[in-house]
Symmetry: C2
Subunit: 271 residues, 2 copies
């Protein structure tokens, strides 16, 4: 996996993830709360963008947040400290070789991680082992193929496709959101329930126009311009035209839709 | 407009619309209710698939349901009678030349109609004239560009695109759902609010697998096979491969997503 396509490694990317987390907190995490005393593993915490939200919403739960990148772990610790949160232990670790015994956790949380893995089903099966009977795994992933915008634009779609192709070449899958249900079933989970969370943005929602259409989605696509051109997936001119058309959807008469998928699955019968 | 692409003209199409209405009633209409005594215009009622639901949910409201097709009007009357509903007057009429005075109605309802019109904004402006000050217009439309399924399939996407192209050639727009917000604003409505209604179907929802993925969406695409092949948009073989791949998404490990858009807008300030 090329570091360029792992989120959270540069300041601009960090800013984007923060914008995303800030704008989408309610939509994505509003219904995730863990009981006091429960032990929760966050697998792939990155720079802690979701960790702060998780820990604030479940102040009595004890979180263990793991990321493969030492730099991300350091940044996540800094953020948790800045937020005055003391219910999270952050440590470096590989999701495929976690140093925990079977049935160590009541719950597992995975957000924007499977999209980067060549073996997402294997990761889920390994995480399932770490759950106590009746425990839950919550997973949230986007799906770039769910984008739907007005005015429609073939150039914009081609620019989005560059990101999909680059992520695929890096061993990931930017279209993984729609696959959560079969992946969770395949990994052996019970009572799998997946619900889509669509971000719908039109001129009546200026906060989302700025926070999501511009600063989250379009910024992410703009971020792969260099890589897309270098890989020969697009000319600079064609890519820039696509990005212009994405910005066009943020005008007062534009519309932008993107769907995240959130799954909750159980290890054995639900408690 | 070619009658072949106007819904509701043949028995199989009628069955499809009934399946659609039966499966999606809560999702699409669960939040539409009109007060007792209010006068409601349903513009483009077709064979009455939505009319029965509307009239049942607002038993004290007085509906006037209009359709351009005499055959559809007759079928809608038959259905209302069979359902024992007496709060609907059905009459034949053209949405662009309705025989009503300005400010005749408290509310207007439009469902799966704008997608067939070459001038949807003009239709909305004309309907707005018929509303009393403070009255609402509710509009529901699909958007075939919102489809998102697993396993992904270029052949299936191409078959869907045939339907989009045929509808466009007939003067309509199968991608109109995403445009409701700008269309309503352009027509001069106030307090425009659009909310997407995604139908998400996976193996845990067998009723939707059968009622929506198979009998609504895939059946609709299958229905244009002859026209698509005759128009040279696809070979029969390629089209059939696409339809097979759509059916594949209805297998236990498949996923299918489609988004309807529902808008509610006001004539002047909301009451």
């Amino acid at each position: 996996m090329t570091p360029a396509y792992v989120h959270g490694y540069d300041p601009r990317e960090n800013e984007r993830l923060q914008d995303q987390a800030g704008t989408l907190v309610e939509l994505l995490h509003g219904d995730t709360q863990y009981p006091a005393g429960s032990r929760v593993l966050e697998a792939g915490c990155g720079v802690g963008a979701q960790t702060v939200t998780l820990a604030q919403r479940s102040p009595g739960a004890h979180f263990t947040s793991v990321d493969i990148s030492a730099a991300s772990v350091a940044e996540a610790r800094r953020r948790l400290q800045a937020a005055g949160l003391h219910n999270v232990a952050v440590q470096q670790g590989d999701i495929f070789h976690l140093p925990f015994e079977a049935a160590s956790f009541d719950h597992v949380f995975v957000c924007f991680v499977l999209e980067h893995l060549a073996q997402p089903a294997r990761a889920l099966a390994l995480l399932k082992r770490l759950l106590k009977p009746g425990g839950t795994l919550t997973v949230i992933e986007g799906d770039h193929g769910s984008t739907c915008f007005h005015p429609a634009s073939a150039a914009a779609q081609a620019a989005v496709q560059c990101q999909v192709t680059l992520q695929q070449r890096a061993g990931g899958n930017a279209l993984i959101g729609r696959q959560l249900y079969p992946l969770l079933v395949q990994a052996g989970f019970d009572s799998v329930r997946v619900l889509p969370r669509m971000v719908y943005v039109d001129g009546s929602r200026p906060q989302l126009v700025d926070g999501f259409t511009r600063k989250t989605f379009t910024a992410m696509i703009e971020g792969v311009r260099g890589a897309a051109v270098a890989a020969g997936l697009s000319s600079a001119q064609a890519f820039d035209a696509g990005v212009r058309d994405l910005h066009r959807t943020a005008e007062p008469d534009g519309v932008f839709c993107y769907t995240f998928f959130k799954g909750v699955a159980h290890q054995g019968a639900p408690r």
